[in-house]
Symmetry: C2
Subunit: 457 residues, 2 copies
């Protein structure tokens, strides 16, 4: 969804408006056959044919647009047409309200940088830890801990303009509602970013300059937690076990064997990770960013990454591959401060999870955070805000709806409600209203029963 | 936007698909004329005609839908068609992912209640103040104040399903981002509601059962602040002057003379108001709700309200008119605890504000909250999430974009950025990056310069 870490497939310029095209020629053909008829009739006929041709022309355009670029969606052609009529109309609407701004940062454009000079997020800062420490001492009203816990700022976001596929905006809305709920219950602040701070780093690279900016603007924050807009909290009870990370600066979900033995491009996932507000992190961002600038640099870097990483398809450099490459190629510099987490789903790949929610409800309980009750369900490759994706749109939307409602049920429990089904936006009462409601607060307010992850070994 | 307090106009069942309809009949007519031709030709011809008829049938439906219900949009017919193709396709998409739920709460339906029995939000609670006081004493870890300020919970929301007009979901997203920003900076928690707790009270009445639920589920909260999804914070610095309301339980924007002298139906606005978590508020909600139930009750109540209130158009009962009616008809019961606020824009009507933002930036500064720098800009009658509105869609969208960016500029200032223009989703740098970023934090972090409203007299 614009800012997630999964590959962006190029959009195939497919054809296929067979029906309407042939229909138009039918119309034309019949016009020819009209030669058998008397003159007056023929003129009226020709007039009618023109009317039909224009009409069918309209359909042709509509259906033709409806067919382009859905070749890899794998969805039914009916879907495909609906999908693309929407894209079309949304584009028009976007134009209606588009600004008079000359340069369009969303258009891919040749970068102004030469390939020789290295890209920088900003002027090199070398003494951040001491600067921050002094500030914290001078500003006790902005402590870096809340109720004894390190202060966390969750950063998420989506592109500045409406989604290519308008249903995407509805799921961006559900995604942020899901994050508001989790963060309210766990005392985490949210920054929702809709701006491209650095035009060189649009798309999934946009998180880097924003993370740096937030570190420098919020010295009271100890951890910046990046989360993709297509990742949902599905265990509302689970809490990040911060104590486990006292000696680390980057916490990211992944598998060491996939990383070091296989050099797999999915060994780590940048859809959800925590970065400590410190000098080390600024240095990491500086080392991470240079592959990001749009245009030749990102394209060339993509080739390097595809050659170096196992299983990576050929496409421009993405932030996830670049991080894996950096940690592998400069292991000694970075790895001792990186915590590769896989005891719970800081990131959980949606396939294999979304279909098991009912089973989880039956067998387990929230607060586990792992495969028994995933902390985060991440819709990698769904791109509901984009106009193309690695998976069928309908399957993605249904799965996201299930994940959202699965999580929402855990929030609604306090209020005595539950969704009628994991696919239903509608809710039903699970408790009768009472004249002593506080008994239920004591029972169901999950802030009183927050669970920290425990090492499984 | 589904939950706001402005009138919902009935959708005119207009006609107008003249072109396609006549085309279809043409198609039929030509089939008849085919009688002049030999048998084989005639069959082929009939076959072609059927093809065309089906095709044109499709266009007819499309264009027909495109023409229905845009009579009062006042937008160009091109807009109108785009608008409605979107509604059409979005409806289809909603169906694709709609649940198998038998009853559809979104459909207007005859209420199951008789007109005699009075509707109740829940069992009558009479000792809430003492219940809550006991709980607060027993749960010191959930204090009703934060840093010496009364704890506020902001409640907003939108309908469970995607907007009829998909661009609406994009503005719901921008609206919640705007609220996240304000509430983060002022230590206010947010609940975003997407569910209909009570099927009787859908639409703009949905806020009542949710407010009651939150009071009973969050005893630690002192004030519930309802805010419509089409209302934006446009003064990020301004703070609610809670001290002013110590002796009051309902704080709502309005004008006493309009209320008492004129009985105007816009004397108060329920788009943004604060309700104290106390017995008085539960009683008010109980007295407020009975006009809400969908169907005959709401329709009949609408007639009473239109007859009683000055300037009210004829439509079903809405929560705003019902509150005004209640406060007027039972003045002695309620008014001494109601603070009618108009020294700042707790609600500010968008017209007359959105075009003056540049002038405000030139002459004034944030923190004033009144006509010089409105605290809230409320897009009454725009309904960007609905399929109809009182104002031209384009004008509404442009104005909301301006309001969002006007507010966003106040947030981005800390980070050193600003929108390129009030209509531009794109941002530009307003300060150079520095190696001593904390100097800017001290200068621009608005949490250090929060302003409380001062009485103007």
């Amino acid at each position: 969804m614009g800012q997630d870490g999964s590959p962006a497939h190029k959009r195939p310029s497919g054809s296929g408006g067979g029906l309407p095209t042939s229909t138009v020629s039918n119309g034309g053909g019949r016009g020819g056959r009209g030669g058998l008829l008397p003159r007056g009739r023929q003129m009226q006929k020709t007039f009618n044919n023109i009317k039909i041709t224009i009409l069918c022309g309209f359909v042709t355009i509509l259906v033709l647009r409806g067919t382009i670029g859905v070749g890899n969606l794998g969805s039914s052609s009916a879907d495909a047409v609906n999908q693309n009529i929407i894209e079309e109309t949304n584009r028009i609407l976007a134009e209606i309200r588009s600004d008079s701004d000359p340069t369009d940062l969303d258009e891919p454009q040749a970068t102004e940088m030469s390939l020789n000079e290295t890209y920088a997020l900003g002027p090199k800062i070398t003494n951040w830890d001491s600067q921050r420490k002094v500030w914290l001492n001078q500003n006790p009203e902005f402590p870096s801990t809340v109720n004894g816990k390190a202060r966390i700022l969750l950063l998420t976001g989506s592109p500045p303009k409406p989604c290519d596929n308008p249903i995407g905006d509805h799921y961006l809305l559900k995604s942020v509602k899901n994050k508001i709920d989790y963060c309210r219950l766990h005392g985490i602040e949210i920054v929702y970013n809709m701006a491209h701070l650095d035009k060189e780093l649009a798309g999934y690279w946009a998180k880097l300059p924003m993370i740096r900016r937030l570190m420098l603007s919020h010295p009271e924050v100890e951890w910046i937690w990046w989360m993709d807009s297509d990742a949902l909290f599905t265990d509302i009870l689970f809490q990040i076990p911060l104590a486990r990370y006292e000696k680390h600066n980057l916490v990211i979900h992944g598998y060491p064997d996939l990383l070091f033995d296989q050099k797999s491009w999915i060994a780590l996932n940048t859809g959800s990770f925590l970065l400590r507000n410190c000098q080390w992190s600024l240095d990491l961002l500086d080392a991470w960013a240079p592959m990001g600038p749009k245009g030749p640099i990102r394209d060339e870097a993509g080739k390097v990454l595809t050659a170096y990483l196992k299983g990576r398809p050929a496409f421009e450099a993405d932030d996830q591959s670049a991080l894996i490459y950096l940690l592998l190629s400069q292991k000694d510099t970075w790895m001792d401060k990186v915590f590769v987490e896989n005891q719970y789903y800081l990131h959980g790949f949606w396939e294999g999870l979304v279909d098991r929610y009912e089973e989880m409800v039956e067998k387990y309980h929230p607060g586990l955070g792992d495969e028994r009750w995933p902390f985060v369900t991440h819709f990698v490759g769904c791109k509901p805000c984009g106009s193309y994706a690695d998976y069928a749109v309908e399957r993605c939307l249904k799965s996201m709806e299930r994940a959202f409602n699965f999580a929402d049920n855990q929030v609604l429990k306090l209020y005595g409600f539950s969704h009628r089904g994991l696919l239903s936006p509608k809710i039903k009462r699970i408790r009768n209203e009472t004249v002593t409601p506080l008994e239920n607060v004591d029972k169901f307010d999950i802030r009183r029963t927050q669970v920290e992850a425990k090492p499984q070994n």
